[in-house]
Amino acid sequence: MNGKIVQGTTTPRTQPKPWLLGIWTTLVFAFLYLPIAVLVLMSFNRSRILSLPFKGFTLNWYQMALKDMALQVALVNSLKVAAVATILATGLGLLAAFAVYRYQFFGKNAFRIALNLPILLPGIVTGVAMLAYLSDLGFELSLITVILGHAVFGLPVAFGPIVTRLGQFPRSLEEAAYDLGALPGRVFRDILFPYIRSAVVAGALLAFTLSFDEVIVTIFLTGRDNTLPMEIWGRLRTDITPEIAAIATLILLGSGVLVLLSQRVAPAD
C-alpha cells in the first residue's frame, strides 16, 4: 500500500482499498463459473446420472455425444437458425440504425422505442404473440418460424451497438468525403462502415449467441425439428445423462476459442 503513494508526481490522494473489491470480484466470478465448473466436472464422471458422487474419470460421454445423431442434427439446426436469423437481424438492424442516425422523420423516438420492445418485454410475450399470429395465418411451425422469431428479437440486439457507434461518428469526415466528390456508396464503404464495423460485428455476435441458446421463444415457435436447446430441454425432463454436460462443455470450449480469436482479429478500439 505504501509503495503506491510515492509513485508519480501527482499522487493519488486517497487510494481506496481495492483488495476488498478484488476479493468481492473474485467471489462473484466464482459464483458465475460455479455451474459451469460443475458441468465440466460431471462430463467426466463415470456415473450414469448427473450427480455426485464422482465415480472416476471417463471420456465415454464425449464419445457418446459425438456419435449421437439426434444431438448432431439439433446442433446443425441451431447453427442454421442462428446464422440466418443473425444475417436478417443484423442487416435490418443496420438499416434501422442508419435511418435513425441520418434522417429526421415523424415518430423517430417512438420508432426507436418500438424497435427495442422485443428485448424490453419478456421473450414469452414475443413467443405467444407470434405463435397466435402465425397459426392464425396458417403457417406451419418449423425451423422457418423459429428463424422469424429469433430475427425479431435479434434486430434490437444488433441495432443497439450499431446506433450507439453511429452516434459517435464525426460527421465532418463524411462531409469531407462528399466535398472531395465521393459518391454515397463509396462514402459508406470507405468512411462510415470501417468506423462502425466492430459495432456491427459485436451486434451480430450477440444476436447469434442469443439465438443459438434461445429457449423460451423457440418453445412456442418450433415444429418437428429441434434446435439444440429444444433437444436438451426434452432430455432434461426425461433421460438426462452426462452426455448433455459433455456437449455443453464442447460448445463452451468452441465459443470460448471463437471469442478469443475474435478478440485477436478485431481491431482494438
Partner: protein
C-alpha cells in the same frame, strides 16, 4: 461549398429527393419487418385477451371474462405477486452483487479490463438450460453443497432445504442473469470521471459519503438499465421455476406456457401475457423516469 457556417445544425449532405429515397430505403424494411412479425402479433395478442374460451371453442366477441378470472382467483393473484417479488428480489440481489464488481473492473481493472469484461460475458455462451440444471446438482440432497457441508462437519446429515424452494429460484435466476446487470454497470463506471472521486476526497468526504452522493447518482442510469434487463427476463421465465423451484412456486411464465400448451386456452394465456406486459411497462416507466439509459 459554403464556408463553415456558424450554427451547429448539420448541413444536409444530400438533395431533398435523394434524402427521401434514402429515408425510405433504410426505414421501410425494418419497419415493415417489425410490423408484420411483431407489432401486429402484439395487437393480435391484445385482441385474443378479450376473447374467451367456451367449451373448447374460442368465442370472438368482446369479453372481459379472462380478466375477471384472473382478478377473482386468489391463486392467480398469489402467482402474480410471487412473480413480481421474485423479479424485484433477483434485480436487487444482482444490483448489489454487480456494483462493487463493476467499480473494480472499470476503475482497477487496468489492462485486464477488456479480459475481465469478456469473462463476465463468457458464461452466456454455455447453455442456459444446462446452467440452470447445474444448480440442481449443486443444491440437491446428494448435491455438492450438502457434500461439502457434511465433510466440513457443519451438517450431520444432508439437508433438503437448499433446492425446490424460493431460495433456489432466486439464487439460480440471480446467477443466470447476473451478466446482464454487470455489463451496463461496468459501462456506467467507465463513464464516471476519476476527477470527481478525487475532488470528493479532497473535500474530505468519507468513502461512504462519496459513494452515496457522488458515485451512486452517476451510475444509477446503468443500474436501472441492468435492472430493466433482469426484471424483464425474470418476469417471463418459466424454465428456472420448473427446474429448481418449489412445486408450488410457479410463476406467470408457467401459467402462460401451460395456457398456450396443454390447456389450449389461448385467450386466458393472452390475458396473462398482457398482465406481464403491463407490469414490465410499469417497471420500465419508473426506470425511465429515474433516468435509465436504454
Amino acid at each position: 461549398m459554403t464556408a463553415i457556417s456558424s450554427d451547429r445544425s448539420p448541413r444536409p449532405l444530400q438533395s431533398a429527393p435523394a434524402r427521401q429515397t434514402g429515408l425510405y430505403a433504410t426505414l421501410l424494411p425494418p419497419l415493415l419487418w417489425m410490423s408484420l412479425l411483431y407489432f401486429i402479433p402484439l395487437v393480435l395478442l391484445l385482441i385474443y385477451s378479450v376473447w374467451k374460451l367456451e367449451s373448447f371453442e374460442i368465442v370472438k366477441t368482446l369479453s372481459l371474462k379472462n380478466f375477471q378470472t384472473i382478478a377473482s382467483n386468489a391463486a392467480y393473484r398469489t402467482v402474480i405477486l410471487r412473480t413480481v417479488f421474485t423479479a424485484l428480489g433477483v434485480t436487487l440481489v444482482d444490483a448489489i452483487v454487480a456494483l462493487p464488481m463493476g467499480y473494480f473492473i472499470a476503475k482497477h481493472g487496468g489492462r485486464y479490463r477488456g479480459l475481465l469484461t469478456m469473462l463476465v460475458i463468457l458464461p452466456l455462451w454455455s447453455s442456459y438450460l444446462v446452467r440452470v440444471f447445474a444448480w440442481k446438482i449443486i443444491l440437491g440432497y446428494n448435491g455438492i453443497l450438502n457434500t461439502a457441508l457434511l465433510s466440513l462437519g457443519i451438517l450431520r446429515e444432508p439437508s433438503s432445504l437448499f433446492l425446490y424452494n424460493q431460495f433456489s429460484t432466486v439464487l439460480t435466476f440471480s446467477q443466470v442473469w447476473l451478466p446482464f446487470m454487470i455489463l451496463p454497470v461496468i459501462t456506467a463506471f467507465e463513464r464516471l470521471p476519476d476527477s470527481l472521486l478525487e475532488a470528493s476526497a479532497d473535500l474530505n468526504a468519507p468513502p461512504w459519503t462519496t459513494f452515496r452522493r457522488v458515485i451512486l447518482p452517476l451510475v444509477t442510469p446503468g443500474i436501472l438499465a441492468g435492472s430493466i434487463n433482469v426484471f424483464s427476463l425474470t418476469m417471463g421465465d418459466f424454465i428456472t421455476p420448473s427446474l429448481v423451484g418449489s412445486p408450488n412456486g410457479i410463476m406467470l411464465g408457467n401459467i402462460i406456457a401451460s395456457q398456450f400448451g396443454v390447456a389450449y386456452n389461448w385467450p386466458l394465456g393472452a390475458a396473462f401475457a398482457l398482465v406481464v406486459m403491463v407490469i414490465v411497462f410499469s417497471g420500465l416507466t419508473i426506470a425511465l423516469r429515474k433516468g435509465a439509459t436504454l
